[in-house]
């Protein structure tokens, strides 16, 4: 049965995730083309110096890419479910409702995980061609909170979209936006190193929020009353 759930989710997101992967790839290539350009005009030594001693983040353009990915995948997966209350079809399947939601969420999170992993590997491998290992490692640590923001945005947007009442959606959105903003508070290289574990734990905890929206839907919560 999980295969059928994954199949449905794949049908929903396939074009979006492929397009997203392509955009991510183009952004990473752009980052290094730009770096190569800087090497040619400023000299490698000066660029390395700027990265090491002035904390210049040469991959700033990648900052919101994971956030955008998480948001798009959440909308793509859950918007078709809430339009005309199609989620009823899923809840009627002979599988526990929470299990279905968790499978849907697992598929979305797995798709993002694969995309982000490909981005990080690509970023690291190309980076090692231009930069010393330490700089690449620090860059990956700098990117990590942005990746976490991608997962968190996915969990929060899923939670918001499936929530049946607009006023609650607004309230969740405000709280979610505040939480996400924490991931972007600083752009100094590797500055999130001390709180990466806490942010990771928070992201994992957020993954269960969808169950609450699902419960509220099944309970019949609705702004207009009629479910």
């Amino acid at each position: 049965m999980w295969r059928s759930v994954f199949y449905k989710e794949w049908l929903k997101i396939r074009w979006f995730i492929l397009l997203y992967a392509l955009v991510g790839f183009v952004v990473i290539v752009y980052i290094y083309l730009k770096l190569k350009h800087s090497f040619m005009f400023l000299g490698a030594k000066n660029v390395w110096g700027a990265i090491l001693f002035q904390s210049i983040v040469y991959f700033k353009v990648f900052r919101f890419i994971p956030l955008i990915g998480g948001t798009i995948i959440a909308f793509t997966q859950y918007l078709p479910e809430v339009l005309n209350k199609r989620i009823k079809l899923s809840f009627h399947l002979p599988l526990n409702e929470n299990k279905i939601l968790l499978l849907m969420q697992a598929f979305g999170a797995l798709s993002l995980f694969i995309s982000f992993l490909v981005f990080l590997i690509l970023f690291g491998i190309i980076g090692l061609y231009f930069l010393p290992e330490q700089i690449v490692l620090d860059s990956l640590i700098t990117i990590f909170p942005w990746i976490l923001a991608g997962f968190s945005s996915y969990f929060i947007v899923s939670f918001v979209v499936l929530e049946p009442m607009w006023i609650y959606r607004f309230f969740y959105f405000l709280n979610g936006a505040f939480f996400i903003s924490i991931h972007f508070a600083s752009i100094i290289t590797a500055s999130y190193r001390p709180i990466i574990l806490s942010l990771t734990l928070m992201s994992i905890l957020l993954s269960s929020a969808l169950l609450f929206s699902g419960y509220r839907f099944r309970k019949g919560e609705s702004w207009y009353g009629k479910n």
């Binding site: 295969r3 079809l89 399947l93 002979p94 599988l95 526990n96 009629k226």
Partner: protein
């Protein structure tokens, strides 16, 4: 015979608005119950409660003895549910949706589904979102029949179907239910279809049950009498005997569960003189309108 569905003292409010109160009904295994009511009387609310999509304010429904709010996977496996408007996954094509549902139901009848689909002038690769309302409804109904459920809950199954297909579907559904001992709980805005399909009828008015009986009992016992009043100033008011009165000038349509003799006596006791008194036979639609009123 066992009851497949039992609802006890079902009461529901949306905010402060009462939808229905103390609704009690049961559906026997192998029977076909039609739920009738005007718009806004809570038909879809009953269906949502039965499928666990809505917690009633008070009362409980049971399907095969399980609380409908917490149905087991095994019970859900045996229930086919048609959502009002024939809602399905519009982003899938026919092949994809068949493949998706097939994975959940061990008794899945692919051949039945494809036989039904072959009657439509559409490609298996056509997306559901690009289909006409009638085509979508046939796909949705085909999926339910392929599931081979023991209980079919069909919320307004005839919506969007053309008259020929409606007739075909109703006749097929009745034959299928009777030959395979399936239980059906359904509603439809097209009451002629219901009359052809159902064994039992449950009619809900605003907040309460108006009738719950077999279809034949209801049609035999609920009467319409037409007559003209001798005096235009005579007033007739609804009461326990006169269930509904539709009056245009002196011409009266009177709806009642009482017999012809009882109505004669009733009118005589009230000193109401009438002429051209006659009993008019009714189809289910006439009886429904007579019971619930035109407005």
């Amino acid at each position: 015979m066992d009851n497949v569905i039992e609802c006890h003292n079902l009461t529901h409010y949306y905010g402060n608005k009462l939808v229905f109160e103390n609704l009690n009904f049961r559906i026997k295994e192998g029977s076909i119950l039609g739920l009738l009511g005007k718009n806004g009387t809570g038909k879809t609310t009953v269906f949502n409660i039965l499928n666990g999509f809505l917690h009633p304010t008070k009362g409980q429904c049971f399907i095969w003895g399980e609380d409908s709010q917490y149905l087991s996977d095994m019970s859900k496996l045996r229930i086919g549910f048609l959502i009002e408007g024939h809602i399905q996954y519009a982003f899938m094509n026919i092949q994809q949706i068949e493949r998706f549902y097939r994975g959940f139901y061990p008794r899945w009848k692919s051949a039945s589904f494809w036989e039904l689909i072959s009657k439509l002038d559409i490609s298996p690769r056509q997306r559901i979102s690009t289909m006409s309302c009638g085509q979508r409804s046939q796909v949705a109904l085909g999926l339910i029949l392929a599931q081979d459920p023991d209980l079919l809950i069909l919320d307004d199954f005839s919506m969007g179907l053309d008259p020929g297909y409606r007739r075909l579907f109703v006749d097929y559904l009745r034959e299928y239910a009777k030959s395979e001992n399936k239980t059906i709980f359904t509603t439809s805005h097209i009451i002629q279809d219901m009359e052809r399909l159902i064994d039992d009828v449950l009619i809900i008015g605003s907040n309460n049950v108006l009738v719950q009986s077999t279809l034949n009992e209801f049609l035999d016992n609920f009467n319409r009498f037409d007559f003209e009043l001798e005096e235009s100033k005579t007033e007739l008011k609804k009461d326990a005997i006169l269930v509904n009165i539709e009056r245009v000038k002196n011409k009266v349509e009177l709806y009642t569960f009482s017999s012809e003799n009882e109505i004669y006596k009733y009118l005589a006791d009230k000193n109401v003189s009438v002429k051209n008194f006659k009993r008019v036979s009714m189809a289910l639609e006439d009886a429904f309108i007579g019971l619930t009123g035109k407005y």
